[in-house]
């Protein structure tokens, strides 16, 4: 049996009477990269904060690294590295000073040495005296990750670590995360980039505080029961609007120069497409596989109808 790093059940949290996370259960195996996806405001940050003791759940229970999230926050904090969504190192301290501070707070025996090793690992040796606030977005994120892994945590909670970072830096960031996972560290990483979802071993999708899907990327797509047609040609915007209202079509989403037309009921979708194709000869219609993004957009639309 796989060892479980995070095992929580029925987490619920509300602010001012508004439920932000509802009855959320999560099981993250040790050593995996677990993606936590969802649109803005869906409750990702709130969930991560509950996991590391920064927020108290209204109800629900569970363990993080075997420690009870409700009563063993101190033990969790010693073993978990939490990277906040907003840069939260000291902008007016240098790179080295920030890292030494972290090392001291975690009671590491040789803070200076630990900081030096982290700086070398980050490839920042020449810039260690630069103020953290002066770094570019990508470097800030790398430094923040460096600070998180400095005290050698067993679990990393990363909150949208690549938001606003350029593609090259993002790729390097993910390479680093895979390296860490290979060392046996569990990583729970939230993101709203769909392409990053494919880089995770497993993922969970949350919208409006509700966990809507969970599993590997393949499983999530399969579970959705979605079928998709891909349309290309001119004036897709107008075509999309026309397709949207047809029975059997649950979702129309533009992808660059293509239109993804999807439905839950394969037969109904095919019938609808057939009718549309007959009425319109100007486009190319091909049967395709639904992408994760198609699935997520559909899940979110459905969830919106239920909760919003």
């Amino acid at each position: 049996m796989k060892e479980i790093a995070i095992d929580v059940n029925g987490l619920t949290k509300s602010f001012d009477g508004r439920t932000v996370v509802r009855d959320l259960s999560l099981e993250v195996p040790k050593g995996e990269i677990y993606g936590f996806l969802g649109p803005n405001g869906s409750g990702k940050t709130t969930t991560l904060r509950m996991l590391c003791g920064l927020l108290t759940p209204d109800s629900g229970e569970g363990t993080c690294l075997g420690y009870d999230i409700r009563i063993e926050a101190d033990a969790i904090k010693r073993n978990v590295g939490y990277m906040t969504q907003r840069f939260s190192l000291y902008a007016d301290l240098s790179i080295r000073e920030n890292l030494e501070f972290v090392a001291r707070v975690y009671g590491m025996p040789d803070p200076k040495g630990a900081a030096s090793r982290a700086i070398a690992r980050l490839g920042l040796t020449g810039r260690q005296d630069q103020l953290a606030g002066e770094l570019s977005g990508g470097w800030k994120q790398r430094l923040a990750l460096g600070a998180c892994i400095l005290p050698e945590p067993r679990l990393l909670l990363l909150d949208e670590p690549t938001a606003g970072v350029d593609p090259k830096a993002r790729r390097e960031f993910w390479d680093e995360i895979h390296g860490l996972a290979a060392e046996g560290i569990t990583v729970l990483v939230s993101t709203h980039y769909m392409d990053e979802a494919e880089r995770c071993h497993e993922l969970a999708y949350i919208a409006f505080g509700e966990l809507l899907a969970q599993g590997t990327a393949k499983e999530v797509v399969a579970q959705s029961g979605l079928s998709t047609w891909i349309v290309s040609g001119g004036d897709l915007h107008r075509l999309g609007a026309a397709l949207q209202v047809r029975d059997g079509i649950d979702m129309v989403a533009p992808f660059g120069a293509e239109l993804h037309v999807s439905g839950r009921d394969e037969a109904a979708l095919d019938a609808a497409i057939k009718a549309a194709k007959n009425a319109d000869g100007a486009h190319r219609w091909t049967r395709g596989a639904p992408s994760l993004e198609d699935v997520f957009i559909l899940l979110m639309d459905e969830a919106k109808d239920n909760f919003a």
Partner: protein, 390 residues
């Protein structure tokens, strides 16, 4: 929708003019002002507070000053003298003592402002025309507090004692004054205002700067977002608090060295007592104010609120502590509030050590008050410190 976008098409966009742009700013400022409750409260409360404090509490002509009396002669003349003093409204005979040492102690510790000693066989000497002397000791640390009372003493013999001395001894009354009043202005005999103000400044400067430093401590971390990381690390609130206060104790130490040095060199303020005791207690006072500032920091929602809170706290400290105006000149309620402020107690300590040369024994109450104050502030800060982001 279409019409609107046409109206604002690039070519036709008109200059809205000075008034409209300014008005846009005015509207925005009002909206923001209304959102910020604390600023709103400041706008209302500060003027009221100042009005009340200045209007009711401040009195530069303090009356009813606590006075100790040692009577070695108990005749009708003694009683008449004391009654006359009481009638001036300046002296309030609160303590009756039996020996001069006790009289000295009361003045030294600041428990009384004046002490009166009626010599033995006072009455007999007066009637014999020996012109005895009646001793009035004034604690002149604060010349303002004693000034008017002392001048009231001058006319005392003439006006009030005429009646008592009339009759068979009429002749005495008609000639020069039948007895003298020896006034002893202690601790600041020349009535130099700086001697009172400059040591007090040590307390005022420490209050203001120390509180400012820590008032921003927690709110700044919250506003900059660093608190979220900090709270996710294995560090405890008490460790954060002491870690944030300790560096500023050192700053306070530097400040106090500068002020004491300047007081001595520039203003010739004497330091009669132990410099080391003063340094230790000033450090305690600095720590108490740092704790207050830190408490504000845990109560405030943002840095502006924290600064406003320190201002709220600073105002009564300046006005009601006896720094600017005589403590004893204030009405009872103002004195009660004053007793609750750390500066009040520190002023007694610092003036006591510099001008009176008193030791620890004479200021235990004030030291205890500072310690209690600090512990209370720290306790409140720890209770109020939010360990989570809930």
């Amino acid at each position: 929708m279409m019409a609107a976008s046409c109206q604002y098409s690039a070519g036709e966009r008109r200059d809205p003019g000075f008034f409209r742009r300014m008005w846009a700013m005015v509207v925005k400022e009002f909206v923001q002002m209304r959102r910020d409750r604390m600023t709103f409260a400041t706008m209302i409360i500060v003027p009221i507070m100042q009005l009340v404090l200045f209007g009711y509490a401040i009195n530069t002509d303090p009356k009813q000053l606590p006075t100790a009396v040692l009577t070695r002669d108990d005749g009708p003349l003694t009683r008449a003298v004391l009654a006359a003093m009481k009638n001036t409204d300046y002296f309030d005979f609160r303590v009756q003592v039996r020996d001069p040492e006790e009289l000295d102690r009361l003045v030294r510790s600041g428990e009384v402002q004046f002490a009166v000693e009626i010599p033995a066989s006072f009455e007999r000497d007066v009637r014999r025309g020996d012109r005895p002397s009646l001793l009035v000791i004034a604690d002149a640390t604060d010349p303002v507090a004693t000034g008017t009372a002392v001048s009231a003493l001058q006319g005392l013999i003439d006006t009030a004692l005429r009646r008592e001395l009339r009759g068979p001894d009429d002749t005495i009354a008609k000639t020069e004054a039948p007895f003298a009043i020896t006034l002893q202005n202690r601790y600041n005999p020349e009535g130099i205002t700086q001697y009172n103000i400059v040591p007090g400044l040590l307390g005022v400067v420490l209050t203001m700067t120390m509180m400012m430093f820590t008032a921003l401590a927690v709110t700044r971390e919250i506003e900059r977002g660093t608190m979220e990381s900090l709270l996710a690390m294995p560090i405890k609130p008490v460790e954060i608090m002491i870690g944030k206060i300790a560096p500023f104790v050192l700053v306070g130490f530097v400040q106090m060295t500068i002020i004491l040095g300047a007081a001595h060199i520039l203003f010739d303020v004497p330091i009669m007592g132990s410099v080391w005791l003063l340094v230790v207690l000033a450090t305690l006072f600095a720590a108490a104010n740092l704790a207050v500032g830190y408490t504000f920091s845990t109560l405030a929602e943002n840095q502006l609120q924290a600064v406003q809170m320190t201002f709220f706290f600073f105002l009564p400290n300046i006005l009601l502590s006896g720094f600017m105006f005589p403590f004893r000149g204030m009405p009872e309620w103002a004195q009660v509030i004053g007793e609750l402020l750390p500066l009040t107690h520190f002023l007694r300590i610092v003036r006591g050590i510099t001008l009176k040369g008193i030791g620890f024994a004479d200021m235990q109450v004030d030291v205890l008050a500072l310690v209690l104050f600090m512990l209370l502030a720290m306790g409140l800060a720890l209770v109020r410190f939010r360990r989570t982001l809930d």
